[in-house]
């Protein structure tokens, strides 16, 4: 991964044959008929297969950026390009999946049936993974027939991740997926997300408000500043790709989180 040239890169038309996973160019997102500016002139290139964590103070538009990429809110200005398509077509072609803070499982469906949901609606998606294999991948083998209320919060979020992977998306958008979980569960799932990322080669965008989580997971960290939401910095995390929870106690890691914290204070 040659990441040296990957900086904030406003208006950088990627002239390479591999255009990257997501290209965001001079995007504004406004609410309430333009009176509230959530994102202002945001540009960023996400390379194919990268793990990018999005960090920033509350109200900086982290989720809004994800929602704009996912075609859940429209961009008032600028261009968003997802796997060479506009967000709407990318959504219809199942180029990305979205994991929400709430697991948003349908409570009347078993774990397995929840994972199968994406295959039953929309166009169903041609390429799909075996739901049972995915439940095994997220560590829920044997719990296929459990209803959501029989699962813990962490297990429900695992089901949500399996559901997101069932369409074999090229991009996984994760919007504070572990924000509501306790720290122990969260640490465990962090390691598993890294493992899943390595095993599937999916591009992952991961919104978080936790500095250690952003540094531990991210190959890159996209730092946003607030009022209005804009790009503060897009930086590579100088840590080896194979990471373990214990790595968070190293001096290197602490140096990175200290740097991120300092950046965050400037926002």
């Amino acid at each position: 991964m040659a990441a040296a040239e990957l900086h904030t890169a406003a208006g950088n038309p990627a002239a390479t044959p591999d255009p990257g996973a997501i290209r965001v160019e001079n995007v504004d997102v406004t609410f309430a008929e333009g009176t509230v500016v959530a994102l202002k002139d945001v540009s960023v290139d996400i390379p194919q297969g990268a793990f990018v964590t999005i960090l920033g103070p509350s109200g900086c538009g982290k989720s809004t950026l994800m929602r704009a990429i996912a075609d859940l809110v429209p961009a008032a200005r600028g261009v968003i390009d997802v796997q060479g398509q506009n967000p709407r077509d990318a959504r219809r072609n199942r180029n990305f999946s979205y994991v929400f803070q709430d697991a948003t499982l349908l409570p009347w469906r078993t774990a397995l049936e929840n994972v199968q949901l994406p295959l039953e609606v929309g166009d169903g998606g041609d390429a799909h993974a075996d739901p049972r294999d995915l439940l095994e991948l997220v560590g829920l083998k044997g719990r296929e027939d459990a209803l959501p209320h029989e699962l813990s919060g962490g297990m429900r979020q695992r089901v949500a991740i399996a559901r997101a992977l069932v369409t074999k998306p090229k991009i996984l958008l994760m919007d504070e997926p572990f924000g509501a979980l306790d720290e122990i569960t969260r640490d465990k799932l962090n390691e598993e997300v890294l493992r899943i990322w390595r095993e599937t080669g999916t591009t992952i965008l991961f919104v978080t408000h936790s500095i250690p989580e952003a540094a531990f997971l991210g190959e890159y960290v996209l730092m946003l500043a607030a009022h209005p939401g804009r790009v503060k910095e897009f930086m590579k995390v100088e840590l080896p790709p194979e990471r373990r929870l214990a790595d968070r106690d190293t001096l290197e890691f602490v140096r990175i989180t200290a740097h991120l914290r300092q950046l965050l204070e400037e926002c």
Binding site: R91, T104, L117, V121
Partner: protein, 271 residues
């Protein structure tokens, strides 16, 4: 876990044990009913209450025996009216709720009318319907249906709208059509609300049918109540009232059974 496995479990004698447990669990309720019946019998004996004013439990039991045929004959029309009214009233309410949820103009136009119809006392509406539809089954079914209609409409609208914004976001990311959202999400998530309303309706539809039979009918439990009252046949009146209550309990039990079959889940994503 380790502790539990060391405790020797008593060898179960399943059938007898379960029946015994059931009796024990219902013990207080059974004792209270028995106590009240005894008290009633005692009061009637002690004060020598004339039978036409308030019959003793034993007299009512006798009336059940003597009038079993009459009660049975009049049970079925009322059951039929209540059940048909229940089905019709709830179906219309569900259909309207579905329409309202997909068309807010329709909701704004017709919801006030639904409220207005609900405010008309059913006992005032009954004569009007009898004048229009005559003495047959039709006005009874309509009144039984009307009395079910409103609670179901209100609950069903709430239920169909009780889908979290996050779930709707999910369905949008999945490019689900409105029909798919309705079929896969809204309908299912409305079921607890619907059954709450159906439980209310299961007993009120019996009331509706009986009230309709009071106004103009020569069959059904309602008609029997009127006849027994006017002829001072108090034991028969009481027996009829108990039969009507039994009918309502049966309807309620049927709905509760259906609920337990349809809803085996609990909401879990509440933070």
């Amino acid at each position: 876990m380790a502790e539990a496995s060391q405790i020797p479990m008593p060898v179960p004698a399943p059938r007898m044990n379960r029946m015994f447990d059931a009796v024990i669990a219902r013990g207080p309720a059974l004792a209270a009913v028995a106590g009240l019946l005894l008290l009633w019998q005692g009061v009637v004996w002690f004060f020598e209450v004339p039978e036409y004013m308030a019959p003793s439990p034993i007299a009512v039991l006798n009336a059940f025996q003597e009038n079993a045929g009459t009660l049975w004959l009049n049970f079925w029309p009322t059951f039929f009216e209540a059940a048909l009214g229940f089905v019709a009233g709830n179906l219309v309410a569900i259909a309207l709720a579905v329409w309202f949820v997909h068309n807010s103009t329709a909701e704004r136009a017709f919801f006030p009318i639904a409220v207005f119809i609900n405010t008309i006392p059913i006992i005032a509406l009954a004569p009007v319907l009898v004048l229009i539809f005559g003495n047959g089954f039709a006005p009874k079914i309509i009144i039984a249906g009307l009395i079910c209609f409103f609670p179901t409409l209100v609950n069903m609208v709430r239920g169909l709208k009780a889908v979290s914004p996050a779930t709707l976001d999910l369905m949008r990311v999945l490019s689900a059509s409105n029909w798919e959202i309705f079929w896969k999400v809204r309908l299912q998530s409305s079921l607890p609300f619907l059954f709450a309303a159906l439980k209310i309706a299961s007993t009120t539809c019996v009331i509706g049918a009986i009230v309709a039979e009071w106004i103009g009918s020569n069959f059904g439990l309602g008609a029997l109540i009127i006849e027994a009252t006017f002829n001072f046949r108090s034991p028969l009146l009481y027996a009829t009232v108990f039969t009507a209550a039994f009918l309502a309990v049966v309807m309620f039990a049927l709905v509760s059974f259906a609920e337990s079959r349809f809803i085996r889940w609990k909401t879990s994503d509440v933070h």
